[in-house]
């Protein structure tokens, strides 16, 4: 059975067709949730961000510009929601309440758990502007042009941020005992 074209789902979604909205969720919920998870750092917050992003997208389907990919558009909303979420969290949490990055050294880190955990926590040590480009490139596999569109920044800024982000991430991973 052939898959309903995305444009048809969007058009029907604009008219309030719940099946069409469910179809869009079915296609994009998982990647959006996983990108949010990598940006906000925990599953509960990633669920909130995903929910909020899709609700905003559905509310604004009339304003969706089909010259862009829907995938890029929903990502743009989700990334903004994630960054705003992090800003709110850092504003409202005291330093003591925040997750403090763990720099207990390679040996102890290796004892604590998997490489994946270290990479995930290392990612959270990056500033939002760097973490987002790493996630969009290395999880979502967007091109520089698409990342620029999603973040509303020039491609050369994407290029520069990605270099800085990966350089910082390398130092963080070394500090966490993860060797390339």
């Amino acid at each position: 059975m052939s898959e309903t074209p995305e444009s048809a789902l969007i058009e029907r979604g604009r008219r309030g067709d719940r099946q069409a909205l469910a179809g869009l969720l079915d296609r994009y919920q998982r990647p959006v949730y996983n990108a949010a998870l990598r940006i906000v750092g925990n599953p509960d917050d990633a669920s909130d961000v995903t929910q909020s992003a899709f609700l905003k997208a559905f509310e604004n389907l009339d304003r969706y510009d089909p010259s862009y990919r829907f995938f890029s558009w929903i990502y743009r909303i989700a990334v903004n929601e994630s960054i705003n979420h992090n800003k709110r969290r850092y504003r409202t949490h005291s330093l003591e309440e925040r997750d403090i990055p763990d720099h207990r050294g390679p040996q102890l880190s290796a004892e604590r758990g998997s490489v994946s955990r270290e990479v995930r926590q290392g990612l959270m040590e990056l500033d939002d502007i760097y973490r987002v480009v790493v996630v969009l490139r290395h999880y979502s596999e967007f091109s520089y042009r698409e990342i620029g569109e999603i973040l509303d920044i020039p491609e050369k800024t994407v290029k520069s941020r990605l270099f800085t982000a990966r350089r910082q991430m390398r130092d963080i991973l070394i500090a966490r005992g993860v060797d390339g």
Partner: protein
């Protein structure tokens, strides 16, 4: 020691984002510089480490929760009975005597008759921002008023050509709660009122005097977007502004 632009070139090379000219420079750099090769390998390893993070399944009920909370998106079209006329709305609002045309958004199970009329009195204004509009082919007043916690946009406009008023509520945390006019027994007049996808459109002839009720949605948080108002007449945007929610 590699220059910053050489480092960024190598980084972009890892991503396959080089022009043919950059690619030649990249190839030369890697062929001639052990430092460049080492950086290339490091950056590639970092990317691979992030890409190796396992995907997680979203909570099983997340999609259902989102669908449950998605606002009903069917267009609300309020049929109106008499032609649009200019009314002395500010006086009527000051008196607080209004007739409300209530859409299905205000009533859980509306009947056809309930789409037409209810009479009532609005709460007095606790906050008001007024904008005088005087431009070619369009003049009048637009007020953004807080009444008992509910934002209302009040229009009193006259135009040389038919008017189309569009109010964008996306990201404001507000929704379309109904439309009100002064109660002189003649009723509100417009050819068409639609609310869909966070946008309210009112279309009519060259005069408009009404208020839009914009209550906060149940899910409203600290959305920061303003209320976007665009007024078209004769096929052109004559006025555009954003009001604080």
């Amino acid at each position: 020691m590699l220059e910053r632009d050489e480092c960024e070139l190598i980084s972009a090379g890892v991503d396959g984002e080089l022009s043919p000219r950059e690619q030649r420079r990249f190839d030369e750099l890697l062929a001639n510089s052990p430092e460049a090769r080492a950086l290339h390998d490091e950056l590639r390893a970092v990317g691979a480490a992030v890409e190796a993070l396992p995907e997680q399944a979203p909570p099983a009920d997340l999609a259902a929760r989102i669908l449950d909370r998605a606002a009903p998106r069917r267009a609300v079209v309020v049929p109106l009975r008499t032609p649009w006329r200019r009314m002395q709305l500010p006086l009527a609002f000051a008196a607080g005597l209004l007739v409300a045309v209530v859409t299905p958004r205000l009533l859980p199970e509306p009947t056809a008759d309930e789409l037409q009329w209810l009479s009532g009195t609005l709460a007095p204004a606790s906050q008001r921002a007024a904008q005088r509009i005087e431009m070619q082919g369009l003049e009048g007043q637009l007020n953004s008023v807080l009444r008992g916690g509910t934002r209302t946009l009040e229009f009193d406009l006259a135009a040389a050509a038919p008017l189309e008023i569009e109010v964008g509520l996306a990201g404001t945390g507000l929704t379309f709660g109904g439309i009100v006019a002064n109660g002189d027994g003649q009723g509100l007049v417009a050819e068409r009122i639609e609310s869909t996808g966070g946008t309210v459109r009112v279309v009519g002839d060259g005069a408009a005097a009404f208020g839009l009720l914009l209550p906060a949605t149940a899910a409203a948080g600290d959305e920061g977007a303003g209320i976007h108002v665009a007024i078209r007449s004769g096929g052109e945007i004559r006025y555009e502004a954003t009001f604080d929610r």
